[in-house]
């Protein structure tokens, strides 16, 4: 049998309100007599650290109008008896790994798309394991029985339709979205439901009088390309259910850049403190960069002020580097160029245009002491690897006001959300 792109069978497995149901199941296992999934409950950061937003909500919290991403006090206003639980990323990793292990028992090719989402390729397995829907139901029930939480499984001819199918109706269900079902099942949905279409794009599309996915799919592609460039073509293809990337194995990480950012506990008003935080973020990013054996040639700084207005500034480097001090120098320059002097709430450092660190092009304008700096970074990385991250810190952080390596969720292998299928 020849396998062309249209008769692949792809499944998408998505945990229903992942953080919340994992916490609920864990509490039940520990002997709690409440099930968070049946009461209005949310997982939210700490208000004292100003990270108080709703990360996940239970289904009974929905009727109160509580939305993911909302500020906690607002959610409490809407529902005074709301139960708020702080996040526990270690638990989430454990749950996600357990789910991955379970899937690995059944399927050869699995892609972990984010902490609570997996793609798997079922093509050619029907002969042995039965119809896709049947298998999906079996898996869904096994997860529920063994791991205690519920999942949605979407089935389609490619990753996009599988993912869209998984979103149709929750929880604990299996949906299909084959090519011939797209018109009936996907097209009537609001365009905001489509993968990759967020708030901003939705607004732009609204101006073009595109309200549903069907509108988008039937729009002239030239109009979209003119307005949204190559992204227009991408979402048009998605709206028509066209997508053909394979299910990547475990080792495939299409990394294009990395960054760390942090909401700060207090408002930053002066340059010195801002520099300190940027340094701390740069340390985290540079450590990860060297860990991935890469160099970067693009540095970007993002700032969010107390009015929740964000802006960023980036620059191409003359030659690729992975030296903390060199990246930090550029970060400082970028910050100076873009900061308007207002109070800062959130800072981020991002690097891109990665290249291998095995071969680097030297230039006449390289900074002084490059070899020395590189050796220094190597020693510090070695120490941090062996004795833990806080074992070596810069003197500037000795007062303990700012964490020496900011950013991240404290869980190293945590897979973040991705926009690349």
């Amino acid at each position: 049998m020849t396998l062309n792109k249209n008769n692949r069978i792809i499944m998408h497995i998505d945990v229903n309100s992942a953080y919340l149901s994992w916490q609920a199941v864990y509490e039940l296992q520990q002997g709690s007599n409440r099930d968070l999934r049946n009461i209005p409950a949310v997982i939210g950061g700490s208000i004292a650290d100003r990270r108080g937003i709703v990360l996940a909500k239970s289904i009974p919290a929905k009727p109160y109008g509580i939305k993911t991403g909302e500020v906690l006090w607002e959610a409490r206003q809407k529902c005074p008896q709301l139960v708020v639980i702080p996040p526990n990323y270690q638990l989430y990793m454990k749950c996600s790994k357990a789910l991955g292990e379970l899937l690995k028992e059944h399927f050869p090719s699995i892609q972990r798309f984010s902490i609570d989402e997996f793609f798997l390729d079922y093509t050619g397995m029907e002969a042995h394991y039965g119809e896709a829907v049947e298998t999906a139901n079996k898996i869904k029930n096994r997860v529920k029985e063994e791991l205690g939480f519920t999942v949605n499984i979407g089935i389609g001819n490619n990753k996009l339709t599988a993912k869209m199918a998984g979103e149709l109706k929750k929880p604990d269900l299996v949906h299909t979205l084959w090519q011939h079902e797209i018109k009936d099942k996907m097209w009537p949905l609001s365009v905001g439901e489509l993968f990759m279409v967020g708030r901003k794009t939705k607004k732009k599309l609204k101006e073009l009088n595109i309200h549903t996915i069907g509108d988008l799919a039937t729009t002239d592609i030239k109009l979209l390309q003119g307005k949204l460039k190559s992204f227009g073509r991408l979402i048009w293809a998605y709206a028509n259910g066209i997508e053909d990337t394979p299910v990547y194995g475990e080792n495939h990480v299409p990394m294009k850049g990395m960054g760390n950012s942090s909401t700060i506990k207090f408002d930053v008003e002066d340059r010195t403190t801002a520099y300190k935080i940027l340094l701390s973020l740069t340390e985290s990013v540079a450590l990860r960069l060297r860990d991935a054996n890469c160099c970067c040639s693009l540095v970007s700084v993002s700032v969010r002020n107390t009015d929740l207005l964000s802006y960023s500034h980036q620059r191409q480097l003359f030659s690729a580097t992975n030296i903390t001090n060199e990246i930090y120098k550029t970060v400082k320059e970028l910050f100076d160029e873009c900061w308007k002097g207002e109070k800062i709430r959130h800072l981020g450092v991002r690097i891109g245009e990665l290249s291998s660190d095995q071969v680097t092009q030297l230039s006449l304008f390289d900074g002084k002491n490059q070899e020395k700096n590189r050796a220094l970074d190597q020693v510090i990385d070695g120490l941090r690897d062996k004795y833990g991250k806080p074992s070596v810190i810069r003197g500037i952080f000795a007062d303990g006001e700012i964490v020496p390596l900011l950013g991240g969720v404290g869980e190293e292998e945590y897979p973040m959300m991705s926009s690349i299928l």
């Binding site: 994992w22 199941v25 296992q29 002997g31 638990l91 996600s96 205690g148």
Partner: protein, 87 residues
Amino acid sequence: MKLLRKPIEMVAWFDYEGNTTPVKFRITNEVQENTVIKINRIIKREMDKFAGNRMMKYTCESCVNGEIRLLELRYELDTCRWFLYKM
């Protein structure tokens, strides 16, 4: 059986295959008195993988204060702790 979830001190037997068998345990009450309870019979053993947290569950029969009682013991693999979960 009533839910207790009390941490206990356990003497257990680990065989060549990696099976764990609880033998006897000690439980401390509110006034710091110790009681040792011997496990007479293991009725059921199963692995609980809820939330990815592996726990061995044992349903056992023991003699407590002169009467035969059913109890559930749990062993949390990640933390190596034993609990008297239900009695």
